[in-house]
Symmetry: C2
Subunit: 316 residues, 2 copies
């Protein structure tokens, strides 16, 4: 890539954060932008919580809890202990240090700041080596429709029920009428490489693409857009991506990911174990790129990042 190439990533939480950890090693800070899902944001205890943004910020700040994959390291849980005394809603874990982020965000939103402004302030406070943008300042909420529990907010599904319930559909409330963040749209338009992170297609990437302006912008840039498959060997490395894809009419495979994203990207990067899916991927009109996609450490994440950047070079 050239030093002034712009790299933009559509992001959920943990998987995207790992990829960004690789990208920051090979892309100049001023050229790297993360557009982050807000569909799993929630209001709880009066606080505005943005789990995907926080996972990305904490991970890139080098402060994420390695054991949990979310929240801050060296965390204490004293507020939750008090909450439990009262029989409060303790199903959603909020560490004490982490709470400071939610207090700050909520107060700033109350004062009239936008989610993008607050996110920028929080990222700056952690000296993040990239730009972090919410997909929209508007409220988008992922609702998971289930067989036996009715409609669940994403976090009720994911954390409250540990994604162990049968789903019948997913919808993104507010998305159709949401205004995309102008800076996010601008970054997509000026991207030299647009990456769909190996996040959950159904509940992390789709809520971003459910915002019409973003879907249109990404489709316009299909030629420079690469998706990284979150499915490896027919399963998700973490979380309910495989199950949700199947329950929502897809297939839990690299070919299934190609099917899911083929309107949005022209390249699909997937793991060596799935090399036999190459022709299926090509049948969806996508260029198959086979590489080691398991980001078990930062060096391997940088390797995947470099493989993605080579897509720019190869088109020079």
């Amino acid at each position: 890539m050239a030093a002034d190439d712009n790299v933009v990533v559509l992001c959920g939480g943990v998987g995207a954060a790992r990829l960004l950890q690789g990208l920051v090693q090979v892309v100049p800070s001023s050229r790297l932008t993360a557009i982050v899902n807000v569909g799993d944001d929630l209001n709880l205890h009066g606080l505005h919580i943005s789990p995907d943004i926080d996972t990305i910020v904490y991970t890139l700040a080098g402060q994420v809890s390695a054991e949990r994959g979310w929240g801050l390291t060296n965390e204490s849980w004293n507020a939750m202990e008090t909450l439990q005394r009262y029989g409060g809603q303790a199903w959603f874990g909020l560490g004490d240090k982490d709470l400071g982020t939610h207090l700050y965000r909520t107060q700033r939103l109350t004062e009239g700041a936008s989610l993008a402004e607050v996110t920028s302030e929080i990222a700056a406070a952690w000296n993040l080596p990239l730009t972090v943008l919410p997909a929209t300042n508007d409220t988008v909420r992922t609702i998971v429709e289930t067989e036996n529990q009715g409609d669940l907010s994403f976090q009720q599904y994911f954390v409250g029920h540990r994604h162990e319930v049968q789903t019948t559909g997913v919808r993104f409330e507010g998305a159709a009428s949401a205004t995309a963040l102008p800076a996010a749209l601008a970054s997509i338009h000026s991207a030299d490489l647009l990456i769909i992170a190996p996040s959950n297609p159904v509940v992390s990437i789709d809520p971003i693409l459910a915002i019409p302006e973003i879907a249109d912008a990404v489709k316009q840039r299909r030629d420079i857009t690469c998706a990284v498959s979150p499915i490896v060997g027919g399963a998700a490395l973490k979380g309910p991506a495989a199950r949700l894809m199947v329950e929502n009419g897809g297939e839990a495979s690299v070919a299934g990911v190609a099917d899911w994203y083929h309107d949005y990207c022209s390249t699909l990067v997937f793991d060596e174990v799935d090399v036999d899916h190459s022709s299926a991927v090509a049948e969806y009109g996508l260029t198959p790129v086979v590489t080691d996609t398991i980001m078990s450490n930062k060096t391997k994440a940088a390797g995947l990042a470099a493989a993605l950047l080579s897509r720019i070079r190869s088109e020079d």
Copy 2:
């Protein structure tokens, strides 16, 4: 007193909590009710914080920080540390354990519970040996008018400016149209002894009495109402009571307290050091009761409580 005598106390924070610590030693739990000021409640970081209620709950639970006089003992401050990283509003100290209370209260209010219901739930969780009632479920906010800083919320004045600014007046927004808590009114009507705690008359007791139904009810029970002077030897033991009384047209003395409360009570209990104010107190139509009012420990608090209860006996 008889075992079925009802004792009701109008309360601010720290001073009232100490008196209640004495009263619980000599009054059966089912007979003791605290009606607590909500004028210094605040919304910060999206949370509903009720400082006077919390001070009373934590003190009676034996969990208040002895050094600070507010908040919980063995507290950690990790959320505040994160908040400070962002340059957030860290002027109002919120310990991690304490935050759990505000999270719970805010969530329950969001769900539609009243402040009285939440307060009752919180008090029950700490096994409190008395009934704690907010004066109203409605919003009452004490606004301190200042010479150079304009209008300040009570906590901005008290904590933010450490009550070191010249005030020109105090008002209680929402009080005139607030509905008194029915249980609070009922307790006043059925009280055998109604006590005005040695709290700040200007900003702790007056915001309760600014609710018209409560003022009327207390005036109707003037004959069984005793105030305990928060002024000892011309000064407040703690906080800005003396200064605020003077700045609001009163006098920082036991006679000044008699003047302040004479419509509401028929007895004023004050400290031995002020024995020479007895005739001045009598001139306001109040029965002077001189005793040791310095509650430096629980035994002394019980002594003051017993002196107050003897007011019931003396009228039998």
